[in-house]
Every structure is written in structure tokens, then in C-alpha cells.
């Protein structure tokens, strides 16, 4: 009996070993485990749905922190004469470095801005490289590609303004040999931007059905093309012809100025008749991470529940720049102590500044705890008034004063809102005087919209206007490249002169 048991045990032991050997036979497939958290990239780029998601990701990145918040304030606004740092004296003092032009290549905001734009460019390049190979609805495919070209152009537009020559990536790098590339001269970057915009405008629709509102339109591609051309006019006067061409094309598309200048920026007037390119943001219920725009929050009134951090505040010189009675002053600036049209009382004390940006303001009642204040606010990047003023300037530069005055008057008339006692029509046909009037109109009309700083530089007026704060010609036209990036490139990237 005992013996039998032992035979049984021995047999059992050996069968176990046999099992193991059998088990090992299937080892190959057994170790091939799918990534548990995410879809493998090799399974992506197969369907129309993948294309849609990739395009969505690209749009989504436009309202991400480094694209829309602090880095943008530092690089695109803080150098302007219209703004001050705001907030507490000792909070985020690095913003003053941008206001005083003492910012160096080690500034975190510089690398944030750089990285933020290239992240969006990567998403655009992913679409442009991979979507063509997906078998899907052909017209949708070409529209997606056109949308991606616009977004890529938009990012390079921001980069070339901020840094001059930048590495031009028009494809996803295929391997390590394509990681480290040198800067492309800005002329070629501008050319690439224009190519993308030409391609995009040829495909994109003028408008979308209700479900797709907020996507890039033909008008946006043309308007950005006009602006891209205008930014090259300082060195290439002939570009004014392009500005005129593209603005005229936009003006034929049916945009109208929104009647109420102040209300144009409120959340209940999103994507209004004047809006051409608007970054779409919303409070997604239960999903604070998807509601990640901090554009309004960082500029919001500090010291009030539902306000914000109080950075990038209007300066005294902006408040003083308005013509008497111009309603745009009150529509652009929240003055401490005022009650907003939406009924928010801004207490006289409790915050750190006397003025705040009203164009990014979201009524406090819309605040939901757990979400960023004002995460509902869209950012209007291109609007019809900007196009009209570009059209006016181009006409003036090309000797069509009358046409210039017509476009300019459209903008002033809307601001006047029927009150003929204020903002008299500009009548001068003297090119220099009219140019000044148009520049002044751009200053006021687009104040606090992140246009002023680079606009003054492209006008050639920066030394005069920003010089007293330390702006130097030959250096401050562009910011330094991020030091981290130069270090990582091991000599492939060069620094801008003067930094």
C-alpha cells in the first residue's frame, strides 16, 4: 500500500515536470503582452475614427497651459507697453524680466513656450504624416489635412515671431538621426507657413454645421496668411500686396463686426459673426482635466472667489491711450471698484492690482469649484476687426487711402456704437498720418489681445516705444532660444545675437 503511494508520488512529481516542459512550449506568445494602459501605436492610424481623434488631440493642445497661459503672457504680452506683471509684488517676478527685457535663455517661460508650440506641431505632423494612408471619406480626409496645416502654420507663426530662425519640422522624426536639426532661416519658415496656409485655404470650408463650429475655416487660413504676410513687410514691402489680397478675400466671406464690443468676449457670444479663429474651451462637467484652459484664470481678478490670479494687468499707459469717451476703454479694462455688466462687484480692496483684463473675464457666477476659474473662456486669436485694420494698412501702404479709410471707419463706427459725439471718423489721406492712425486703432481695438507687443516690433517702432524699458534694436526683436534646448543640441542650435 505504502509502496503504491510512493509510486503515485513519484509519478505525480514527474508529470508535473512534464507539464512544465509542455508549458514552456508556448512561451513565445505568452511573453507577448499588449501594453495594458494604452493602445499600441501600431494599432493606430487604421480607421477614420483614428484620424478624427488625432485631429481632436491637435485642437485640444491649443488650450493647454504652455500654449495659452503663462508662457504666452511672458513671450507675447509682457514686453508690451499695455501691460504690467500684476499679482503680488513678489509673485512670479520673472514676468518682470520680460517687461524689462532682462529675460535670458534660462527663463522657464521661454522653454515652456517653445515646447508648447512644438507639441502642437507634433500633433499636426502626426496627422499630416499618417492620415493620408488611412482609407476613409476622401473629402473629410483632405479637410483634416487642411486643418492640420493651418494649426502647424499658426504654431510656426508664433515661433518665428518669438525666436526668428527655428528648427522647421514638417514631418514626425523617423528616427534618432532626425531628432537634432539646426535652425531654418526665418525666410524659409515664413515660406513654409505661407505654403501651409495656401494649401489650407484651398480646401477648408467657409463655415461648418452647428456640430463642427470652432474648426478652422477658409477665412481663418486667409486671415492668418494676411497677418503672416504683414509680419514680413518690414523687410519686404512687396508683401503688402499679399496682405491686401488675402484681407480682401476674407472680406468677401461675409464676416461682420459684432455690434457690442464688450459682449463680443463673453461666453454667451462664442464664435460670433466677427470671430475668425477662436480656441474653443469649455467646462466639461466632472472632468477638470479636459477643462484645462487657464487663459482666463491667470488674468482673472485676484482676491475674489471665481476671479483668478491677476497677472498680465492693463498698464496706466494703456488706460491713458484711449480717445475721450471711447467705450472700448471700459470694455477692455476692469477697474477695481467697478461693477461689471454681469453684476460682479470688484471690491476696492483685496487684490493686488487696480486694473484687470476684461477681454478674458468670465463672470464669477460661472465658477465651479474644482475647475480653473474661467475655464469656459474661448480665446479669440483672429477676428474680423483685425482683418479690416490689416486691410486698411495694406491699402494705405499701397496708396489706396480711400479704401484704407473705409476699412478703418468700419472698426471705429462699431466702437462708436451709434454715439457720434465720440471717435470721429479719420479723414486724413496723408500716408504717414493715416499709417499712425491705423497703428493707433490697432493698439486700441486689439488691446489686451496679445497682439500689441509683436505688432509694434513689426511696425519698426519698438525702439521708440519699448526702448525706455530696455528694448534694444538688433537684440530684442526676438527672445533667446531656451538654454536647455541649446545644451541638448550639443552645438547644433545657435543662440540669438545679444543673448
Amino acid at each position: 500500500m505504502k509502496t503504491n503511494k510512493k509510486i503515485l508520488q513519484g509519478t505525480l512529481g514527474l508529470s508535473l515536470i512534464a507539464c512544465l516542459v509542455a508549458f514552456q512550449g508556448c512561451k513565445k506568445s505568452w511573453l507577448d503582452v499588449n501594453p495594458a494602459g494604452n493602445q499600441a501605436a501600431t494599432q493606430f492610424w487604421k480607421t477614420q475614427d483614428d484620424a478624427t481623434k488625432a485631429v481632436d488631440a491637435m485642437y485640444a493642445n491649443l488650450h493647454e497651459w504652455s500654449n495659452i497661459a503663462f508662457a504666452s503672457i511672458a513671450v507675447e504680452s509682457m514686453g508690451s507697453d499695455d501691460v504690467n506683471k500684476g499679482s503680488r509684488a513678489d509673485d512670479a517676478t520673472f514676468m518682470n524680466d520680460f517687461h524689462n527685457f532682462s529675460a535670458n535663455s534660462g527663463e522657464g517661460q521661454i522653454s515652456d513656450f517653445w515646447g508648447g508650440e512644438y507639441k502642437t506641431i507634433n500633433f499636426a505632423n502626426q496627422v499630416l504624416d499618417n492620415v493620408p494612408n488611412i482609407s476613409m471619406d476622401a473629402s473629410l480626409k483632405s479637410r483634416y489635412l487642411a486643418e492640420a496645416k493651418f494649426i502647424r502654420a499658426w504654431c510656426y507663426f508664433r515661433l518665428v515671431r518669438a525666436f526668428g530662425d527655428v528648427p522647421l519640422r514638417l514631418h514626425v522624426p523617423k528616427g534618432a538621426s532626425e531628432y537634432n536639426i539646426p535652425r531654418t532661416p526665418k525666410v524659409q519658415v515664413w515660406a513654409a507657413i505661407e505654403t501651409d496656409l495656401t494649401d489650407a485655404a484651398a480646401v477648408l470650408p467657409q463655415s461648418y454645421s452647428a456640430a463642427d463650429i470652432g474648426r478652422i475655416t477658409k477665412g481663418a487660413a486667409l486671415a492668418l496668411h494676411a497677418k503672416a504676410a504683414m509680419y514680413q513687410t518690414l523687410t519686404n514691402k512687396a508683401k503688402w500686396n499679399d496682405v491686401l489680397t488675402y484681407t480682401n478675400q476674407v472680406m468677401a466671406l461675409g464676416y461682420t463686426l459684432f455690434p457690442n464690443y464688450e459682449q463680443m468676449f463673453r461666453t454667451n457670444n462664442k464664435n460670433n459673426s466677427e470671430s475668425i479663429f477662436e480656441i474653443q474651451c469649455m467646462l466639461v462637467p466632472n472632468n477638470p482635466n479636459a477643462s484645462n484652459s487657464q487663459y482666463s484664470q491667470v488674468q482673472g481678478v485676484d482676491g475674489s472667489t471665481g476671479g483668478g490670479w491677476g497677472f498680465n494687468v492693463p498698464s496706466a499707459s494703456l488706460a491713458a491711450a484711449y480717445e475721450p469717451g471711447d467705450p472700448r476703454r471700459d470694455a477692455t479694462i476692469i477697474f477695481r471698484g467697478e461693477t461689471t455688466p454681469e453684476g460682479d462687484v470688484i471690491p476696492t480692496s483685496g487684490g493686488n492690482s487696480t486694473m484687470y483684463n476684461q477681454k478674458s473675464y468670465v463672470p464669477f457666477s460661472l465658477y465651479v469649484s474644482g475647475f480653473n476659474e474661467g475655464c469656459q473662456q474661448d480665446k479669440i486669436c483672429l477676428r474680423y476687426a483685425d482683418v479690416l485694420l490689416m486691410n486698411a494698412e495694406a491699402n494705405n501702404e499701397l496708396g489706396n487711402a480711400a479704401a484704407a479709410l473705409t476699412s478703418l471707419e468700419l472698426v471705429r463706427a462699431r466702437a462708436r456704437a451709434g454715439n457720434n459725439a465720440i471717435l470721429p471718423p479719420v479723414t486724413t489721406t496723408d500716408q504717414a498720418a493715416l499709417r499712425l492712425a491705423i497703428w493707433n486703432e490697432r493698439h486700441i481695438e486689439l488691446a489686451m489681445e496679445f497682439d500689441r507687443y509683436f505688432d509694434v516690433i513689426r511696425q519698426g517702432n519698438a525702439a521708440a516705444i519699448f526702448g525706455p524699458r530696455g528694448w534694444k534694436a538688433g537684440k530684442n526683436e526676438v527672445w533667446p532660444l531656451p538654454q536647455n534646448e541649446i545644451d541638448l543640441s550639443a552645438g547644433t542650435l545657435t543662440q540669438n545675437p545679444g543673448y
Binding site: 509519478t11 515536470i17 503582452v33 501594453p35 503680488r88 522653454s111 502626426q126
Partner: protein, 1017 residues
Amino acid sequence: MKRIFTISGLVLLCSFFFTYAYAQNTTLKGKVTDATTGESLVGVSVIIKGTTTGTQTDASGAFTLSVSPNATLVVTYIGYAEQQVNVGTASTISIKMLPAASQLQQVVVIGYGTQRKVDNTGAVSSVKGADISKQPDANPVSALQGKVAGVTITNNGTPGSAPAISIRGLGTVYGNVSPLYVVDGVWYDDITFLNSGDIENVTILKDASSTAIYGVRAANGVVLITTKKGVKGGPAISYNGYVGYQAATNQPKMATAAQYAQAINETVTYGNTFAAPDDVKPPIFDNPASYGKGTDWYGQILRNAFTTSHQVSLSGGSEKATYDYSFGYLNQDGLVRNNNYQRFTIHLSNEFKPISILSVGYSANGVYSYSKDAPGGIFHQLYSASPTLPVYYADGKYGDPTDYGTGSGNNFNPEVTLDYNNHRTVDHRFTGDVHAELKIVKGLKFRTSFGGDLGQLEARGFTPVYAATVAQTTTTTTLNIEHTETKNWIWENTLTYDYRYKDHKITALAGYSAQNNRTYEIVANANGVPYVKSGNLYSSYPQGDTSVTRIRNPSDQLHNRTLSQFARINYSYKDKYLLNASIRRDGASQFYPNPYGWFPSIGGGWVITNESFMKDQHIFDNLKLRASWGKVGNSVVPINPSVQTVAADPYLTAIFGNPQVPYQGASINTIVPPRTVWEKAVATDFGIEGSILHNKLSFEADYYNRKTEDAIFAIPVLASIGTNSGNLIGNQATIQNKGFEISITWKDRVGSDFGYSLSGNVGVNNNKVLSVESGKNPIYAGGNGIANGNLATRTVVGEPIGEFYGYKVTGVFQTQAQVDQSPQKGTNTQPGDFIYQDTNHDGSIDSKDRVVIGNPNPKISYGFNTSFTYKQFDLTLDMQGVADVDVYNANIGFRFGGENFTQDFYEHRWHGPGTSNTYPSTNVGANNNSKPNSFFVESGAYFRVRNAQLGYTLPSLSLKKYGIQRLRVYANAQNAINIFGYKGFTPEIGGAALSRGIDADVYPLFATYNLGVNVTF
């Protein structure tokens, strides 16, 4: 078929042999005690020499065995010297064992087995379970601090959290940097589920020849843990418990309200210097002196935290079955009010021996813990909070920082944070193994074990609607639940063959193992849900409401598999010449399609004292030289680094339409290397062990050189590639850890009443990066807690991992004229700011002027453990420390405006020409001053009395009538004395490999005082 029959035949033969051997036996009764303390030893192995017949001592140290006359008993016990006792014709015997008198005679646990320490050729250290359960640590790893040379433990104060442990320095940067824990043969990444009281023994395998048998998981060392098993006899019931409290200790003083008001006014002054004229701010406090002492936020929120632990165990058994059951309860308050951690543990173990050649058994551990969590970031709030802010106003409302305008850096009332915090973490975990061991023929054993780890962790937070202050106001309730499930299993099968022929002794092992590990996590968020007091807030999720957002965070989803074969041979000749060799082949799914690798090791030893020429010397009782070499791997990366995945996180949500609708996007925002292999640690170890003076003094010294090849790093890549992380994960570097360890123990008795032992250990480790794939390009990291995105550490060839890197401060500017003449002119620098060294003498200060400013890798760690017994009293004093290490005090410069200062900073700050040339002004948070620089780097060296315990064992005679075998009471103080120069809260700073030693959390150091009792019935 024929072969099976042959083996079965052999089995048959053996059984006859055994039957024959049993024939002429007489019954021997014995008792085994500790020669030093007289304590009964439980579970001692007593084997008749030359046979496999044996038994274990029961709970009272007694054993009964059938022996033939003049048999020799081989008595072995982990941590004690092996003894061979000739029975003669006696029917009772008393055996006194010498505890660790000679380390060479110990039996040590090794991978997949045990071995006499004398036969071992690797660097292996053991700690007895009793030495661990002695300390009031919820996690057994904490109790290892200072006990083992070369093992560095960094404790974390949060109740229920696991300490960081590194064995022989830092070799791994990415993924899991911890050693492998093997509990009763089952592999774990952490052992938070284990109650210290259930541990029999902890063995730390340090060198590669010892760890190589664990192949691809062993690069960072292996910690082997044996849990308690039942022993014959009993049932023995024992109770161990303590009660005590924890208190914050060595806390730096914060500025008073008056000092704070003055300091903050100064920050406004300095902040105004470079602001636009129309952006200049008035001082915040009109009359700083009038604010007096103000609120002591630490006093308001922290407390003496009650802690108690109870454990009851029942163990015993017969020849055929043994059992060990225990139940433990731990209740530990956190230092922060309302923070509490409760843990229930259960340990069940049974061993059955249905027939003499087969044993089957299991060991299972269950844990349930319930934690009322402290609010996230509360410690930084306490550090930052304004002392001018009252907790409550006279009308009972909360003090509101907005009323003082002290800014965004401290726009909170910590009391509000605490009062409205409702966060709970509930953990259920079930771990264990079932195993069977079959003796196939004499000397040949087959063992199979199947182990598992089933875990379910649920964390949930609920925020009610409240309006406490302007900044601390909520408009809707929020409920979020994180649910994590772990399902791991491991199946291991080994054949072990013991063979002796004359002077040759061979143990051979072959094995096969498969593992499958899965972790899933899901997060759900909902707003506007009602609060249900009953606790299970699942019920308050709106039923069928699609608005509840559920998110699977990709980095928290894991699935990997391992498939392995291994073999080892231990050979000794005449107990003089030793050879150990092993090889393991592992396949790890994380590296598919190249999953397989080989991990060999070899070790040799020479027991000099067993040589004939040493016979007549009287100096050395034992002396052994050993050397080993091995290659091991580390596969613990979350996912296959070469598999590119699709990002689809909520941040990638696009919005379109009127009305607006969110659309979850997905795309690719990473780059991956074409091929990744696991890290390999190739290590060499030379050791010497010995004892002198009749084994009173024993020593062990090791030199090691461990190279981690193909270390996996996340290295920063050009931002223009547009990746989300800015990193590329792959094989990037070779890292070297080189050093030596020395342990010396002196153990003696004076008369019959006084016994003592003194033991010291020291480990010296030098960490160095030997090569980096990126060539000379350094890897910058460590931005956590550093202002404005600056990076504070650098990893570069020829230097240690993650050394602190920044500007060297040479002084403080006293006047504007001094600034204007310096390279820092025109950089928004003002008097009171740091003067930086112009390292490259180019007349300007920029990133090229940065230098190495400190090393966060502890070079020296040491421990000094003593124990004394006098009659019924026992005293333990454990001291421990680290030296030659730096800490980055990030709290000083990490400021958003309005944060408080330490009194040290306030008193030494620059506040006018001539006031200080070392401390800056209160403008220390400004960009120029807060960038990584040498001012923030301080020595992290410390020395502490880790544990002091005084015990008294009641005389056993007086207890017998109550049925009590042993009753001991004790008082214990942990961390009671700490000596360090660091100006922050505690120099014990952990952190990820590339950002180690950056203190941004300000968790206070704490001491534990407790009274306890050990009873055995």
C-alpha cells in the same frame, strides 16, 4: 515510461532503508535554549547526523526524537551556531546554542533554500524577526535601518507608507528602484502587507552571486523574508502589544507674526524694484511689530499622535501537522489631526506531512487597512501659512488670508483645509502561497509552489459645498474614487539534490518559474453628488448617470509576464574549498520581442581555519576568504519602453459645436527607442569573515564593485521633437557603485547575570556614472519644488547620479554700486541678492557658470547596535546615521508670494548693507535668487538613536501558576535623539533617482515613545 519506473524503484528502495533505520530506536527528549539568555528556542532543527531524520523544537523549546545509541544530533537554527551533539545513551539532553557567536556557523537563507553560512560565498546578512518586531514600525523595512551594512533606509512619515530602501547604492533610475522582496518564495515589490510580528527572519542578499538566482529582478538586491511557521507541541499562545505616541521632533522654528509681517513688507519692497512704476505695490502690513507672536500653525494642526499595536498568535503542531495563526491590529494616528491609519493583519500557515516523503502546506497573509488620509500638501501649507492669520476671527468665522492680501503662495487657512478634507484609502490585500515538497529519492527533492498577490485598493475623496474663505470656497460637491486592482501570480518548481561523497558535498538545484502580474486602475469623478454618511460613497453616484467621468490612467495599468529557468550548484570540499555557481535564463514581457537573457554567477571561498596548517593557531576561531562575480538584471519598468503607445488622456479633449461638446482626442506624443534591453548589474565582491577570542569577536568585511549596464533612464530630448514628457526612455548609461562594508560584533557574558553584545556596521559607497549614451550631454532633472522650471540636478559621465548642479554663491550684494560693477548688472539684480561665481570669467552670469554644488547619494551609512541583559533586565540601544551626503532645501526658495520663513532665515536675512553676506534678502523667491544655487545645499548628515528599549522579564516561577510561560514588559523610544545640522525639518529626504535629496515636502521628523508587553502562554 521506463524511466519513471526506475525512479519509482529507487523511491521504493529508500522507503525500505528508512523503515530499517527506524528499527532500533530509543526515544530522546531534549530542550534547546539560548546559551546567553537562557530563553527557549522555538523551531530549532534537530537532525540525526547522516540521515534526513529529524524534528523541530516546539514552543517551549522541547523536542522528542527516536535515535539510535551514540547518534550525533546536528542542531541548527537561523542566527545561531550549528552544534553537533553526541547523544550517547542519554534519554534526555539539554542543548545550549550560542547566538551568532560566530557568523560563520550560522545557517542562512539563500534563494530557493538555506545554506550554512560557512558554505556561502556571497555577501548575505540576516536579521532575526525578533529584532524587527521589537521596533514600533508599521512596515518591517523601517526596522532594518542601521541593522545591515550597505543597506540604506529612508523613512517616510506618512502612516501606512513604505520607506525607500537601497542596497549598495543607487543603480537604477527608472521604474522600480527597490530590491526584490521574496516572502515565503513569492515575489513582491513591497511588503506593506506584512506585520513585523509575523516575520521569522529577514535575509538580505547583497552581492550578485547571491542574487543571480533571481535573475532579471535582482539588480537592486534581494530581501528574503521567511514568515513564522508552526512548530511541534503547543498550542502556544502569545500576545505582543504596545501603546504609545508619536510626536514631531527637531522642528525648526517659524517666524512669528511680527517677524513675518516685517519680512513680507520687505518682499514687497524688493519685488517693487523692477516692477513698472504703475505696478508698484504698497507695503502689506502697516505696523509689523503690532502682530506679536501670531498663530503657530504647527501647534494648531499637529498633535501627539496615539499609536497602538496588538498581535495574538497561536502556534503548535504534531509530527504530521503544524500550524501558526496570528491576528494583528495596528492603530496609528498621524501627526496631523484627523489622520489615522488602522490595519488588521492575519497570518495563517499550515504544514502537513501526510507521509514521510511528502509535505504540503501554505502560508497566507491577509491585510485590511483603512486610512483617514491627511490632506495633500498640508505640510507645505503649515510651512507657508501666514502667522498673522488667526485660525478663527472673533465672530467664529475662519481667518481669511485675502483680508491680509498676503498673496497666492499662502492663500489658505490650513484649518479649513483640514476641516473640509474627507479622503479615505481602503486596502484589501491577500498574499500567500501553497507548496508541496516531495522527496523523490534520497537527497532529491521536488518542490512546487504557487503564490499570489491579490490586492484591491480604493481611495476616495469627497469635497462638500462650503464657503470658508475667498480662496477656499466650493460651489459643488465633488466625489472621486480611485480603484486599483492587483492580480499577480507566480508558479515555481525546483528540484534539489543533496549529495555527499567522502569529503565532497554537493547541492544542486534546478528550477522553472512563471509569473504573471496585472494591475488595473480606474478613476471616477462626479460633481454635485450628495454626501452619504454611511461611508460607501459608491451609492451616491447618480445611478445610470453618464456624466460620471471614468478615467483609466495609462501609466497605472500594468501587465507583464516572466518565464524563467535556473540552476545552481554548491560544492564544498572538506569544508575548506567552496564553489557556488548559478545560472538563470529569464524572459520578461517588458522587453518583447527580445525578452530572453542569461544571468550567470560564480563564487568561491576558502575556509582558512579548516586548513591543517591552521590547526595550532589560537587567534582565529574562524577565518574565511570569499570572492564572487555575477550578472543580474532589472526588468521592472512599467511597460515595454520600445512599444510606442497612443496618448488619450483627458487633456487631449477638443471642444467643438454650438452648443459645445467635448471630444476625447488621441494621438502620439512620445518617441521610443528602436530596441530596449533590461538593465544588467555586473558585480564583483571580495569578502573576509572570521571570529577571534573564542568567537566573542566576529567580523565581516566586503569590497564590492557593481556596474549597472544599460541603465534605463528617461533622458530629456529636444523639446522641438514635441513629445509630451520631453523625455526618451531607454538604455542610456552605465552606473558604478563601488564601496566596502564592515560589520564587527562583540558578544560576551560577564558572570552568569550579565550578557551583552555590541555590533557596529559601516558601509561606504561611491556612486559614479561611467558612460551615458547621449555622450557628453548631461541629463538635467529635479525640477520638483524648484521655482520657474529650473532643474537642480545633473547626471553626467564621471559624476554621481543626480548630483546637485547650479550656481555657486560667493556672497550677497550689499549695494547697487556693487551690482553695477558685477557680471550680474542688467539682470534685475539688486542689493540683497546672491552674488554668483562667474565660473568661466566671461563677464556675465549664465547657465555656463553652473557647477556641481552637492551630492545627494549618501557616501557613508552606519549603525551601532547594542544589547545588554542583566538578570531579568534587557536593554537595547540602536544608533544609526549617514554621513557625506547633501540635501537641497527647496522650501526656502520655492515661493509664490507670502509664504512664511523659518526663524533662522529671518534672523540671518540680508536687510540692508552689512547685515549679511551669506543669507539673501527676503526676496529669495525671485528668479535670480531661487534658481538652483549652493545656498540651498546643506549637509544631510545625521546621527540618531534609532531605538532605545528597556525590558524586564518577570521571573518565570511566579508566573507558572497563571499558566504564563513568559512575560516581558518594555519601554521603547524611537528617534528620541537626532543630531543634524540641516536647517529643514528632516535630513531624511528620498525622491526619484534623478531628483533625490530635494526637500520640498517638509514632512516633520517624529519620535515614537511606547510601552509594550510580550506574553507567552
